[in-house]
Amino acid sequence: MDDALIPKGVKRCPLPEFLMKLGPVVVVLIWGIVAMFMCWFKGLNQTNMNDSYGFALWIWADLTVIALGGGAFFTGLLRYIIGKDKLKNIINFAVLVGFICYSSALLILAIDIGQPLRGWFIFWHANVHSMLTEVAFCLTCYFGVLTIEYLPLVLENRQVDQVSFFHHLSHNMHEVMPIFAATGAFLSFFHQGSLGGVAGVLFGRPFAFREGILIWPWTFFLFTWSAAAYGPCFTIMLAKITEKITKKKLIKDDVYALLAKISGWMMATYIMAKIIDTWYWAVVTAPSKGQGFMEFYSDNAFYGIWILILEIVVGGVIPAAILITRKGRSTPALLMIAVVLAVIGVSVNRWVMVLQVMAVPVLTFEGWPMYYPSWQEVATTLLPVAYGILLVAFSYRYLPVFPQEAELNPIDLESDETAESVTASETADAKLSPAKA
C-alpha cells in the first residue's frame, strides 16, 4: 500500500498491521492532548502543584528528557568534530531521539507556564542574568539545530529524494553538518549547564545551592557532563528496544561498543566529580547555612538517604563500572542493565534537583510538603512519550534511519524492487513486528 515510500533494501510489515499496532499509542496520545487542552483552558489548577511545589513533575520531565536527549549533541560532537566515523551508523537515530526529546521539552514548557500566550516574553524581555533565560534561548536554538540535523533524513525518503531540489538540499546539508553540529554542541553546553545552574544558583535553598566559578555553580558543569555521559546510554537503550520490537539487528555491535565505552568513561569521571561535589556540599556548603547533611534526608515520608544511593551508586557507579570494562559492554545483557541503570540514575538526579529542592524546608517552622501529580500532569507527561513512539515508528518505516539495516538483514530475494512488494507472510520473517519502537 505504501511500498513506494519504504526505503530500498529493507522490509516492513503491511501498513494495516503497522497502524493497528500503533492504536494503543494513539489512545495515550489523545488522552495527553485532552489533558493538555484542559490545562490550557482551565489553568494550572488542573495540576497538583502548589505554592511549595512551583516546580514539579513537568519540570522534572523537562530536565530529564533534555539530559537523555543529550545523546544527540554528544554523538554529533564525537562523529563530526572528534571524527569517530563509526558513529555515523547511530547518529541518525541519536538525532531522532534528540529531536523528540527537545520538542517534548518545549511542549511541556508551553503547558507548564501559567500564561502560555506570554511565553515569548522570556525572549523579548530577557533577563540575561537568569539561568532560565539561557535555557530558553539555547534550548530553542538547539531545537532548530536538531531540526536541521533531522531534515536531511526526511529528505532522503525515496519519494522526496526524487525531487532534484530536495536531493541537493539534503546533500548540501550533509556537507555543512559539522558546522551545524559544532553550533549544536556549543548551544548544548550552555543550556545543559544552565539547567544545572537553575538549581545551583538558588542561594536561598541550601539543598540546591552550590559554589562555582564566576557566575556558574558546579551544577552547571555537572549537568553538561552528565548529559554527555548519560544521553548516549538512552540512545543505546532505545536502539536496543527498537531492535527487540522489530526483531532485527539494526546497528552493529562494534558501534554500540564504541559509544558505550565513551559513555562509560564519561560516566565514571562524572560520577567521581559528583561524589566530590556531594561531599563538599555536605561538609562545607550546607553546614555553612546551618543545615546538616542528614536533615535533607530525614523527618519525611519519602526522601531518605536511599535516593542518594540510588542516584550515585546504582545509577552511576555500577553502570559506569560495567561500561568501562570490555566484557561488560560487549555482553548484551550487561550492556542493557548498564544503560537502564544509567537512565534511572540521571532521571533520579534530575528529580532530586527539582522535586527535593522544593520539598526540603528552609524555614525552621515549616515542614516537608509532599506532592503527587494529578492525572492531567501524568497524561501530559506521557503525551510526549506517545508522540515519540509514533515519530520513531514512522521514521523507521519510511526513512533510512539505520544505515546498517540492509546489510544486517539481507532480503532473501534478488531484486530490491520486488522485495518491497513482498508481503510479510511470503518471507522468512513472516512474523515481523510492526516498526514501532
Binding site: 523579548w124 533577563n127 539561557e134 536541521i148 548540501n172 555543512v176 558546522i179 551545524f180 553550533t183
Partner: protein, 52 residues
Amino acid sequence: MFPFNFEWIWDMSHMVFMGGLWFALTILGLGMTYCVIKAAIDAAKGKGGGHH
C-alpha cells in the same frame, strides 16, 4: 532581546549573552541559506538528482 527593547543595557552581560546567541543564530541562518541557494542552483543546472 533587541537593543530597542527598553530594558536593554549595553553592559557586559548583554553583550556576552546576546552576542553568543546572535552569533549562533547567524551561523545557522547563513548555513541554511547557503544550503538552500546551492541546492536551487544545482537543481536548476540539472546535476544528476535522485540518487547519491
